[in-house]
Subunit: 229 residues, 4 copies
């Protein structure tokens, strides 16, 4: 399974103390190492500063699943790359969108809504993630009804998405917010998972439950060979 990780990488992590300390090789580096350690995965990583803003046609063709992390510079991705991403998803490339990638043009494009719209506050609150579809492949191996993330940015409804085809996770914050945090859709032959955890200044992507969910999601989103139609 070919997994590509793309990171916005702006501002550069070295200019953000929290991020530099938490993810010294960048988020693409941390996630890249995670996938590289799996026996069934090969990995490539890219950032917005690369050629084609990191969406090289060869890489997109190569990828079975794209793991995508962006934040405030989502407007800077050129439409020509969004077109190419959409085409590849419709052809069957899985797409796993993490945290602030909710605002990305590709997510809005695939959903038909203003996915950048949600409520948020960034104060390192504790979060509790609730499993509401315990049959789902994406929560395989999690032997709990819920788990906590000690500190993260808080996202809150109303989140401007179409109703998920499968609602897997909800997240609540200490101060009483709620968010549809783990959501599945399909578009054409592509499977899409959005997961809201993981602000870049907290070590969320090292937490074992989060790691399990992301690995499960990548495997779920991998449609595999033998594409029909």
């Amino acid at each position: 399974m070919n997994v590509m990780v793309w990171y916005e990488n702006q501002p550069l992590p070295q200019d953000v103390e929290g991020e530099r300390c938490t993810y010294p090789e960048g988020i693409q580096g941390a996630l890249g190492h995670l996938f590289a350690g799996q026996p069934d995965m090969r990995v490539r990583t890219a950032v917005m500063q690369d050629a084609y803003q990191g969406f090289h046609p060869d890489d997109l063709r190569w990828a079975d699943v794209l793991v995508y992390y962006s934040h405030k510079h989502w407007r800077d991705v050129e439409d020509v790359h969004v077109d190419a991403l959409q085409e590849r998803v419709l052809e069957g490339m899985g797409l796993v969108l993490l945290h602030s990638a909710h605002a990305s043009k590709i997510f809005s494009r695939l959903m038909g809504t203003r996915t950048n719209l949600l409520n948020w506050h960034e104060d390192g609150e504790g979060q509790r993630v609730w499993i509401v579809n315990p049959a789902h492949e994406i929560v395989k191996g999690l032997d709990v009804q819920s788990f906590t993330i000690p500190e993260d940015e808080t996202y809150c409804e109303y989140f401007h998405i179409p109703q998920p085809e499968e609602q897997v996770l909800l997240t609540t914050s200490e101060s009483g917010d709620v968010f549809r945090s783990g959501c599945c859709w399909t578009r054409g032959k592509g499977k899409i998972f959005y997961f809201s955890a993981g602000h870049e200044t907290y070590p969320v992507f090292y937490q074992k439950e989060v790691v399990q969910i992301i690995l499960n999601a990548v495997r779920w989103a991998n449609r595999g060979a033998g594409l029909n139609i």
Copy 2:
């Protein structure tokens, strides 16, 4: 539109101080008055102590929508009445289940799951109800993203239901619980709405947002004449 209200009525409200004070004519009385005041609704009310445990065949045939409230004595409803209720829902009678009616045999029967299973604590916590499907008829007229209920019993996930066909509402509690609180399904020609608000000792059914949701739900659940098939 013919609306029937059924209440378990056990223990008798006069033996429960909170309920006696809040709903002096019982919950069936309070809801009955609400519906009777609508120009498009006719009402009948029944309780478990009536003939046929309140499910008289003539009333079930008459009803376009049944509003159902039960609590701990859900096991006492005889299966022959559950059979009749299921038959009528499949034929097109709408069903609006309130609060502790989640445990009712008819709800489990229609869902195929153990709908009595959820987490709960009864300490009059404040609740916040979030609208996550703002296009839905059931939230028509609510000009808010969320509203609060000052005091109610708290319900919490995991709630043992199939994924709702339409998830309209989520509820959080002050102490950090979350619940899929407003959920739609169809079975045969029948439309089903479950709404978790309204413990019998709090005046929740007098609150204007809750009233609006219940009235909308009854109208949504009314399939109307001209049943096909």
Copy 3:
């Protein structure tokens, strides 16, 4: 309820014998008369040759529901109007798309897929429309499991749409095709219904079952006043 009808109107119906004979006032005229005859509806009609290509901002603001019919010239609608249409749907304007409007930019935009992709042949085959969600408001009043359309263009799977939130109708053709022909989605506060019947050279929009479905759909898509959020 304010209903706006928009028609591509290209080629001009007077240049298409079948259309000129069947809909002498154009499809916008035929549908406009239908809605104007309803006690609860006010109507405006527009065509692509009008100012703003028929999407005047005042009309879009006025409309509770837009009924949209386009065909081969769907590429000619300027993106600025597609932007305005999407904005209004997300704000709560209902959208009923008929027949060849599947290819419209606004439908693709809201779905995130290539909705222009389907199989088709135009030879006036008989069609059979099957009701697979008999509880749905859109089939209210239809006392049948299926009905036939004597002659229409044939559409066939694979139809490049996300799974409908509610699948109401399927259509089969005499020669063995099948199509997901009546499909509901929501985007933001807007409700969307696509219905595949009604090639412009057949009198499909005069058939009573089709009329019933379109009227039901317009009423279902009308979110009404009191928009929240």
Copy 4:
């Protein structure tokens, strides 16, 4: 992965010429051989004439997925076994129901509807199976938009099921019927797939596309170890 195959086996296949010739070891034998040939599957088979009507508690505990085939004697399965089956599905045992198992008590129990209701005729018509969710794991490896089954019993709408959570397949017959033939649901931790192909007197379960779908479905329905909640 532990796969259990259960067959009604009534009338005995030796008394039905078509079945005896097509499946000399019974359908449980044919399916059992199929699964036994897979490197990731272990198999047990049972029939209604066995102890516990073939639903031995040890076998149900052992099974990760149950493949279930019944026909006209569905009423003979005792409710105590239906209770046990439902319990195991809710706990996470996958359930793959084939063809006339639509009428089984366990399917009705899990759906909440009269799943025995559908239209049918048994005259060996050709069937065409259409893939309408090409992203789904259950159609992995099928490089087509549709495929044909030369001869089978015909099932037709209206099929009395709740809307599938995922509609994967539709089937049309030569004479113009249509059926929602490949349908997914979840109940509790259990994943459920119904597939309508495979009357016992036709060699449908030897056809490569059908084999692929059944193998994919068993793998999809296998929730695996580490059950949560």
